[in-house]
Symmetry: C2
Subunit: 471 residues, 2 copies
């Protein structure tokens, strides 16, 4: 039925919907050719549009035409095979279809009772991911003390973990906050500092721990920092291990860090935003899963390497009661028989928002349409591409492999210095591909991220050609 205004009857929805599916297919077809980075200047899109919404309804052909006229020229093509910037933000046709079905159903899954489908499918898909990736059984809803919940991103999960850790350490007493100290490596993601600040702590309460020559947190340095803080009467409450740092894909020694955290009663959070998906390939599990049994919380982004599309991060906890103790507030108007029975999960208590959309549906589509072996192959391919590129860099007389290539990232520097590296970067980006940069102890580093799902050897060959020509 149409809405009460009579806009878009189901037959009109069919008509426009079919046109939009065709538009979407044409967009997918264009990805091979289109340059990743748009050429517009700031303000271009705003200048195309009127200052206010139209007074009267506009016809759908005008809206669809504006997707091409106004939107496409301002798109950074994250789904292009030549997108090798940052980490990938992989969607997939399966995820797109899952988003479509979820949007049609228009669910709001704050409680089991407000969407049994959204709630239970989220439990199921989070449990499926435990098996797919080989994560600890404690992270399961079924039979475990813990469970997983979909969040919008790893930054949010990192903050939620900080809130749970803070509550676990202080019981909610704000007078305890100044004594708290958190720990992460100097290469931890900026969301660790942001999460600490959101939680009410000062940036200085996050100790940035030194790393070894492979950019992994040094457990001895961590132990020293914790002991020094304890000696001063401070309260170490949270240590974040990174599995796959943003700059260099380094993997912290999670087992050692976890053992130290357990010894001192410190909450141990593991941020595996990009690298966690690598567990889909059993060959890579020793690298990315070692020590996870010591984690109180763990997050990774199926929207990065596992094709789920923005936004889809999963936060796992080993003990769900600790998370709920920090997050739950139950007003009268949300009370219901199912929740009171204790038989159901209410995901409102697993994160910040009350309302929640039906994100598990796209995850379910992806997991079923690719199967475990499809996702294993996807991960293995991104890994193989990075090793192949790394071997070329290593063999090149003018280039340095700044750190060993790992998973789906290759870090390159020109031996002549930053100007040379900047020229490499500019040369690659002039081809219509995109790579981005970081710095290693001041040195400019070109990052080539090989986890985009459409990237094939030939796309990487073209990037290598630009690097080689420029070098």
């Amino acid at each position: 039925m149409p809405d009460a205004l009579g806009h878009l009857t189901p037959d009109e929805f069919r008509e426009v919907g079919h046109e939009l599916i065709e538009w979407g297919a044409r967009y997918l077809e264009s990805l091979e050719e289109v340059p990743v980075v748009p050429s517009i200047a700031p303000g271009w899109l705003r200048d195309q549009l009127p200052p206010a919404a139209p007074e009267h309804p506009e016809p759908w052909p005008a809206l669809l035409a504006d997707l091409d006229r106004v939107i496409l020229p301002a798109i950074r093509h994250w789904q292009s095979p030549r997108f090798m910037a940052y980490f990938p933000g992989n969607s997939s046709p399966a995820a797109v279809l899952g988003e479509l079905a979820a949007a049609v159903l228009g669910q709001q899954g704050m409680l089991w009772s407000t969407s049994p489908a959204s709630t239970e499918l989220e439990q199921v898909t989070c449990d499926w991911l435990v098996s797919l990736l080989g994560l600890p059984d404690a992270f399961r809803h079924a039979g475990g003390q813990g469970g997983g919940a979909i969040q919008d991103g790893a930054s949010t999960s990192t903050f939620v973990a900080a809130v749970a850790a803070r509550h676990d350490a202080t019981g909610g007493d704000p007078a305890e906050l100044p004594r708290l100290r958190a720990y992460a490596s100097v290469d931890a993601h900026s969301s660790v500092e942001k999460g600490i600040r959101l939680a009410g702590l000062a940036p200085g309460q996050l100790r940035l721990v030194e790393v070894d020559h492979l950019r992994r947190m040094r457990p001895d340095a961590l132990a020293g920092a914790v002991e020094a803080d304890l000696a001063q009467g401070l309260r170490p409450f949270l240590v974040t291990s990174t599995v796959g740092t943003t700059s260099f894909m380094a993997v912290d020694p999670v087992a050692d860090i976890g053992a130290l955290a357990q010894r001192h009663g410190i909450w141990h959070h593991v941020d595996a935003a990009m690298a966690g998906s690598a567990g889909a390939d059993p060959a890579l599990r020793p690298l990315v899963n070692d020590g996870l049994v010591t984690a109180d919380s763990y997050c990774f982004d199926p929207h990065k390497w596992l094709l789920a599309g923005m936004d889809c991060d999963v936060l796992y906890v080993a003990d769900r009661t600790k998370l709920q103790a920090a997050m739950s507030v139950v007003p009268e108007y949300l009370r219901n028989a199912a929740s009171d029975s204790g038989e159901v999960v209410d995901f409102r208590d697993w994160g910040i928002p009350l309302g929640r959309r039906f994100r598990s549906l796209k995850l379910w589509f992806v997991l079923r349409s690719y199967g475990a072996d499809g996702l294993r192959e996807l991960v293995a391919r991104g890994h193989a591409l990075s090793l192949e590129l790394a071997s070329r860099v290593e063999a090149h007389p003018k280039l340095d492999l700044v750190v060993p290539a790992q998973l789906a990232l290759v870090c390159v520097g020109h031996r002549s210095g930053d100007d040379g590296t900047q020229r490499l970067l500019d040369a690659v980006n002039a081809t219509g591909a995109q790579v981005t940069h970081t710095r290693l102890e001041g040195r400019l580093v070109l990052r080539v991220s090989t986890g985009q799902a459409r990237t094939e050897q030939r796309h990487l060959d073209a990037v290598w050609q630009a690097i080689d020509d420029s070098a």
Copy 2:
């Protein structure tokens, strides 16, 4: 192009996509008949599914068939015209198509440079809403000191406002937290307490201020609480006004509260999650917009009354520099020329997550396909439905209109007491519609929420029939 695994070529995407559009149209057609509440017991859906993801890819016909077999029986039909529970979570065909287009494009809008389209369209649509609703000009990106940003829900916006207020009051010093005090009415949404707790404060630091006979916060009681706290050397830092409380749709005296807040240098946040959309009807603006010029931050949910579909809340701030001071952390790997120039907005600094999906696209589709007059009519209809129902309740010898009907909510009690009211509730819900409850000073209250976009007079007539028969 397909992904590198060859799954779903564009032609296969066309084929499955067209089928899914047909499925979606059939779902929309079913909404007139389907009972809102599913009949399954907890665990039903989980029992339908295997314990792990399939090893090999499953064919699409099996996935689509499972939408009917596994998902639909567990759906609470938020888009049904008989959904009169909570507040509505209105989607619309236009929003569904916007979600589809956004999913195809697979954007990640953390920075202007990572998605100029997502960033600038978010600025444009947030500004359009300022005009549509008649909000203060300070909330505009264009020409204002402030601006709006899409968040996942009002709970998140309420927390983000608390973080900005906390930073404004303390400069980020955690030692100041125990002295902070926040204020909201006893009927404020549970997210106000949750936001306070997430921000590191104890629940007792939120003062719940008394309300008048119409459930509006009493400014004299607020003044008394603030002055008593000041006299004790405490630091009032945040007052939240509610425009349209969840239980009773009461509207706090925002102008008076704002004047008090300004006098004492307290951050003034306005939570208009449901009621804010009413500004689309100029006749209702005096009720919902009065005093908003005193607000430091303001949020409302286009995903409630304004057809945007989960999830879409907009948080406005009057001074964006204060929000960014609280939220911004910039690591090397996110530095870029556009951000460094200061010419662009980077929405990563306007909320919790780093990655952001392209939610403004569906808002743009809704605003253009309905036009300002379509949305005005939508709001006016929900309002008229509530007034009509309220007049029947008032005229009924056995029923009380517990508070005056306002906007799109009618609160009903049976004069015989809670057992009678519970029978009304059960009678309505037995018809296949859904209403929910609240309590007023202990008394059970039936809430009829009339803002679902598909609800027509005949649907409300059927609910009234059940109430009248039961009474």
